[in-house]
Amino acid sequence: MRGRIGWALVCLMLSGTVFAEPYFAVQQGVKCVTCHVNPTGGGMRNAFGDTWARTILPAHTIDTGGGEEWSGNLNRFVALGANLRASGSYVDTPHQQSQSAFDVDEARLYLELTAIENRLSVYLDQRVAPGGSNNLEAYGRYWSADHSWYIKAGQMYLPYGLRLEDDSAFTRTVPGINMTTPDRGVEAGLETTHWSAQFAVTNGTASGSENDQGKQYSARAEYVLSAWRAGASYSFNDAAAGQRQLAGVFTGVRTGPIAWLAEGDYVTDDGFPEGERKQLVGLLEANWLISQGNNLKLTAEYLDPDNDVDEDEQTRYSAVWEYTPMQFLQLRLGLRVYDGIPQNDLQNRKQAFVQMNAFF
């Protein structure tokens, strides 16, 4: 079993033919900060990001008749953004009645208020649906004059690994750092021509109130070239409920029309009732840009939920067609196949979905 895990990891981490979403950045050969307000990606797009989503991403662009185009900036000091995901899904779980449902997956509003242009701003990411409103990110950020470093304080998503859109990916759920688990603290970042690095000190409570003396320390560093990028992440949460350590590597490679992403993470957590548990997760993803506005995403994921227990591994395979018919609108049609131990029905479900994502 260990040999197979090792082979999977080697494939994930080293092979040039192994590929993985921040795939836009890999396709374009740029860093996350090129298109996002947040240097670590995700959330509100900046003026360049909105312009790219309006002109380069879609299969067709609806002509607005020469009127003013959306760039997110109401003026030099106030910028807005929004994101809505609504879906219909069908889930087939062995020995259970199949489920089908329409859902609002999430609706988010973004606001950036700039007090000193390009230097000092306040950023808010508010989830307004489904259910009531709750805040996900709220921080103040200061940029150096040459934009080579920044510091932010408040509530934020932690820097770790590839910031995939899909929070249900094993590499997002098992490390527990994703866009549903922000934390409160301070983050410092470095942005040079090829390097993007961050270090954060936070409560380690996933935005809950601080309940112990320990803190969570998270670091991420990425080296970015036009055709490829590679990076590493580390996080240590010194919590009363148990110490949790994450270590991971990730990469992105562009080969012609395909953008590949790969990530592998090793998680140790001694907060489990039986003591320490070691977990291993991996992701490999290929994004084939079939034509402008058409992307086919194939993803394979691996999870070993306890390294000391044999034959408990899980995999998840996904195929998602992403069609962007016009600016600021994407339709996604996908199939996910979960494969786990036969005793657990949920680990062997199949899911089909269609999703609409409006973003600007």
Binding site: R4, A8, L12, T17, F19, V91, T93, Q97, Q99, A101, E106, P130, G131, G132, N134, D167, S168, G176, T180, T181, G204, T205, A206, S207, G208, N211, Q213, G214, N237, A239, A240, A241, R244, T255, I258, D269, D270, G271, F272, P273, G282, A286, L298, T299, A300, E301, Y302, D306, V309, D310, E311, E313, Q314, Y317, G340, I341, P342, N344, L346, Q351
Partner: protein
């Protein structure tokens, strides 16, 4: 197209799922296997909380501090206020509709997403079993040590925790049902060290007024609360008497064992606020 075929082949190398040999439904080595899902806490813990909820709600990173592992879930759910909507109890015995747990599982909560997050909703039949457990009074785990005298355990904070800030409350759980009519400040005391980290110097400070709230009966979960301004950075010692004139006992009159198995010993637990001592 050749590139995509290569991509598909490479992705296929990621690995295979385990065959589950020797494992139970939760992927743990077989030790009897979980019972069928029934409206009891043990069954719900083993069929729902452990295999599904503890994918996230466990250990240091448990969202909103809500841990749903076997050792923590009962005390953290039953009669305990929700963090997201403080006016609601996570589980209100006898009233599933007013229980925040049910609202989160049914997707009707006022805040946040439906649980389990990023997984398909629980089948309605499963939710109905949990509703039934709540309707039946949200009874606790079955006693595992029928002959042993009752023992106590700190749930939040746990023994020897170092807290950065004052706790909302001190939550302790017994292994069985206690005679709660005996619980009082005569046999439950909370003192702080007097800023020297020691409890033998004679300068200790008795924390009061200490409010004792029984959260559940079987097993007994007790929350101890103080006015917020009473908490200061210091070492704290919680003592629940198993000896003396007014010991804490179970319903049969057996005194608690303090954790070492000897009936009639005091339960003593320490924790610290500030971490400077």
């Amino acid at each position: 197209m050749r590139c995509m075929a290569l991509a598909a082949a490479a992705i296929g190398l990621v690995g295979c799922a385990g065959n589950g040999d020797g494992l139970d439904e939760n992927g743990r080595p077989i030790q009897g296997g979980p019972p069928p899902l029934t409206a009891t806490f043990d069954s719900i813990q083993q069929n729902v909380f452990t295999p599904i909820c503890t994918q996230c709600h466990i250990g240091a990173g448990a969202p909103l501090g809500l841990r749903l592992d076997e050792a923590s879930s009962y005390a953290m759910l039953v009669n305990t206020p929700s963090v997201e909507v403080a006016s609601l109890l996570r589980v209100k015995p006898g009233n599933p509709d007013a229980s925040y747990l049910i609202q989160k599982l049914q997707g009707t909560a006022a805040v946040g997403s439906r649980m389990p997050l990023n997984n398909p909703p629980l089948p309605q039949a499963t939710i109905d079993v949990i509703r039934q457990w709540i309707t039946d009074g949200a009874q606790g785990p079955s006693a595992t040590s029928g002959m042993a005298s009752p023992a106590m355990r700190g749930v939040s904070p746990a023994a020897d925790d170092i807290l950065a800030a004052a706790p909302q409350e001190v939550l302790v759980q017994a292994t069985t049902e206690l005679d709660t009519t005996r619980l009082s400040t005569d046999n439950i005391s909370l003192i702080r060290s007097g800023l020297d980290g020691s409890f033998e110097e004679g300068n200790e400070v008795i924390m009061k007024p200490l409010r004792i709230e029984v959260r559940s009966m079987q097993p007994t979960v007790v929350a101890l609360m103080l006015p917020k301004n009473q908490w200061v950075p210091d070492s704290y010692q919680l003592t629940i008497a198993g000896a003396g004139p007014a010991p804490v006992t179970d319903m049969t009159g057996r005194a608690i064992n303090g954790g070492n198995g000897t009936t009639g010993d005091d339960f003593v637990m320490h924790f610290e606020i500030g971490g400077t001592l």
